[in-house]
């Protein structure tokens, strides 16, 4: 996934899980069935997994623009500067 896709997937996942949890709790409390609450929530978790975890094409609409190989020669890699002074010794 590209960056935009990852952000979208994360937001979707959090929103969907919280929404399903709220819906499941309210329905379960209203009809008085603990088991129904758990079932609705489990269904919500499975649905969220199917939507956000696999690498769907909608998460890849902003692909990363990698640098062209010919650019590498025009911008040489900077060399690390070697320091000659040792900072602790003083004579």
């Amino acid at each position: 996934m590209d960056w935009q896709g990852q952000k979208l997937a994360e937001q979707l996942m959090q929103t969907m899980l919280v929404a399903f949890a709220l819906v499941a709790f309210l329905i379960g409390y209203w009809i008085g069935s603990f088991q129904m609450m758990l079932l609705i929530y489990a269904g919500g978790v499975v649905l969220t997994t199917l939507v956000t975890v696999p690498n769907w094409p909608c998460f890849n609409r902003h692909p990363l623009k990698w640098l062209d190989p010919s650019e590498v020669d025009r911008h040489p890699r900077p060399q690390p500067v070697k320091s000659k002074k040792k900072p602790t010794k003083q004579k």
Binding site: M1, K7, A9, Y29, S33, F34, T49
Partner: protein, 194 residues
Amino acid sequence: MHSFGYRANALLTFAVTILAVMCAMASFSDNLNNPSPTAEVKVLSINWFQRQPNGNDEVSVTLNISSNLQSMFTWNTKQDAFNGFFLVGSGSSYCRKDDRNSASQKVFVFLAAEYATPMNSLNQVSLWDGIIPSKEQAKFWVHTTNKYRFIDQGNNLRGKEFNLTLHWHVMPKTGKMFADKIVMTGYRLPDEYR
């Protein structure tokens, strides 16, 4: 979120955390319940009242215990999926049999006699207990002799006044178990052995 495994892990962790929060809310919702239980016990007869060879008094009583604990059951109370039949008869206490050995708890109930003696300031003797598997069976009456023996530590029971207390423990599906009781006063044992 860069890989399949990372997303699956994040999702599962978050889902389980939310599940824990939901269970906490469900447990908290039990506090919104205002229960109004009732109970009444009649001592129908004192079958016998003897002093044992080791010096302790023992009583056998026949009781009629009637109670309505339906308001204790909430959506968060453990219940059986399968209801069996129960045996009620004189001489046997309220018990329940079913085919599956489902050990799921429901509401535990027990009846205790409380009295004071010179030796112990408070004695509590359990006379009967039972399990209520579901809300429908929480309104019940039982006609039984005491399931457990009513034996004193000493010989102080002649003419003794005692209270009968019905205790119950409500088992939740998630959260804290809570217990309460109803005290019924005004019972008295006979003055002489029978």
